[in-house]
Amino acid sequence: MSVKLRIFEAMQQIAKEQKVALPPLEDDLLLHETGFDSLAFAILVARLEDDLGIDPFTVADAVAFPSTVGELVRAYENVPV
């Protein structure tokens, strides 16, 4: 499964758990429009670290926090594993 699909799957799972109505996931969807609060993002980052073995926001201090879903996916794709 691609990194992108795994991220989408994790987001859908968390949305279900947190009872968040997640809009259709597209690259230019703004993260603040996803309905996720900071706790939901913290859960997402923690689970992706277990699933993908990386946390791009802690590994490199220069990584700017993404503002769209597409940027979030690229942050994971661009970390050398």
């Binding site: 706790l39 859960i43 980052v45 923690a46 277990d50």
Partner: protein, 461 residues
């Protein structure tokens, strides 16, 4: 103090009670004739008035040495087996140790003490030593970080809860504990066996849980204590089917409802009690109604001289069973100006009961909101397939920290059910916990480490 008022362990040992013994996995020593024997090669008189480090690895020899040295030495420091040599040197200085009693004499020859006395299995003694003083009992705190603190007790204080219940409350009991007897919780059980006229079956660190339980059955153990972590291991082992104690005791950690219910199902004939005690504050109280927490009416009025109060959420105890002081140069005071010891154990009033929620220092901070890991573990442990769990903090670039839970499932839980169980645990946590307390990640692990003191190992605590 006149001689007759001094209590010492030897006063509870004598030939008038037959059939008493103390045993470990290798041997059994009769307590009936123990007063005529020595495990110190007849050198007990050299310990009179001395400050003694009891550094005996073998628990059986250590127990018998305690009964000999008590009432003779000025003080006796009980050394748990996991002490390293750097720690030992600072203990020798802080407690003014001049004699080391040990079953590893070669290790102590360069320790710079006046005397090293070899301890071995008891043999017939040529002379009998009498009680001449109230020996100070020094123990080490079981703190997980840094150097353990030395805590000074008297035998009267250590035995306070046993005397308050009446030492004959459990006649003909054979006691056992999963603790090492050099720990406060383990020593309580040894004292119950010696003072109450019973027998004692010791733990053995190298023994499997199944072998240990088989030995408890073979020795006819009737009364047994351990931490909730010890007991979860027993429940997990599936080896307890033939074991039928009359009394099961938990102490040293929070006894949650799941472990109490698990023990009640496994030992339907036993009375099950959980006790609150700490090396510093002594035995606070015991609860035997089968419910977690303790009745609110225990706070306030003094019972058997033990007075408890809650200040800033933590349990404070003033008690004749509390330690008298921390020992050593620059040791901090043990209690406040009114004599209350701050236990650092946080409690919360829910209805008519106080519940323990965790240690003051163990809090996880999630974006400014705080949670005790024990509260999360208690919610997780309610799931029928969960044997034990540990909640811990993982750093998060977003909230500073998130909660991660490591969960051990019951034996025989099919791997195919993991996702269902994970969802059920999440659901259960969401029902009973605020959303920030619900674990971000639940991992299934084969085992969780338990410290030498019998408590769940918390790397970040």
């Amino acid at each position: 103090m006149s001689r007759s008022e001094i209590s010492a362990l030897r006063e509870y040992l004598g030939p008038e009670m037959k059939g008493r013994s103390i045993s470990d996995a290798r041997q059994s020593v009769s307590l009936t004739d123990i007063l005529g024997e020595t495990c110190l090669g007849g050198r007990l008189h050299e310990l009179a008035g001395r400050s003694v480090l009891l550094a005996v690895e073998d628990q059986l020899i250590s127990a018998i040495a305690m009964t000999e040295v008590d009432g003779v030495a000025w003080r006796m420091l009980l050394c748990p087996p996991d002490l390293n040599s750097g720690q030992a040197q600072s203990l020798i200085e802080d407690a003014d140790i001049d004699v080391v009693v040990t079953d590893r004499p070669a290790r102590w020859m360069d320790a710079g003490v006046y005397l090293v006395v070899a301890a071995r299995l008891p043999e017939r003694a040529l002379t009998k030593e009498k009680t001449s003083r109230a020996t100070e009992w020094l123990m080490l705190t079981s703190g997980t970080s840094g150097l353990p603190k030395i805590v000074g007790h008297t035998l009267d204080g250590l035995a306070g809860a046993i005397m308050a219940e009446g030492p004959a409350r459990h006649p003909n009991a054979t006691w056992a504990t999963f603790y090492d007897i050099r720990r406060y919780g383990g020593l309580q059980i040894l004292l119950r066996a010696v003072i109450g006229g019973g027998s004692m079956v010791l733990s053995d660190p190298g023994e499997s849980i199944a072998d240990h339980i088989a030995r408890l059955c073979a020795r006819g153990v009737t009364h047994i204590s351990g931490t909730p972590s010890h007991w979860r291991k027993v429940l997990m082992s599936g080896a307890a089917a033939n074991f039928s104690p009359r009394y099961v005791r938990l102490s040293g950690e929070i006894a949650d409802q799941a472990v109490l219910d698990g023990l009640a199902r496994t030992f339907p004939r036993a009375s099950i009690g959980h006790a609150y005690a700490s090396t510093e504050a002594g035995v606070g109280f015991a609860v035997d109604d089968g419910h977690e927490g303790f009745p609110a009416e225990l706070i306030g009025p003094s019972r058997d001289g033990v007075k408890m109060k809650i200040v800033d959420g933590s349990l404070r105890i003033r008690s004749p069973r509390a330690a008298r002081a921390y020992i050593g140069a620059g040791a901090p005071p043990l209690g406040d100006a009114d004599g209350f010891v701050d236990t650092g154990d946080m409690v919360e009033l829910r209805g008519e009961r106080y519940h323990f929620v965790g240690r003051r220092g163990g809090i996880i901070n999630i974006g400014g909101l705080k949670v005790h890991p024990e509260e999360i573990e208690s919610a997780i442990n309610r799931h029928g397939c969960v044997r034990m769990s540990r909640a811990r903090s993982r750093r998060s670039p977003i909230t500073g920290a998130v909660v991660v839970a490591d969960v051990v499932l019951a034996d025989g839980t099919a791997a195919g059910r993991h996702e269902t169980i994970r969802a059920e645990i999440f659901g259960q946590c969401k029902e009973s916990l605020a959303s920030y307390k619900v674990p971000a990640v639940i991992r299934f692990v084969e085992r969780l480490d338990v410290t030498a003191a019998g408590k769940l190992a918390r790397a970040d605590a």
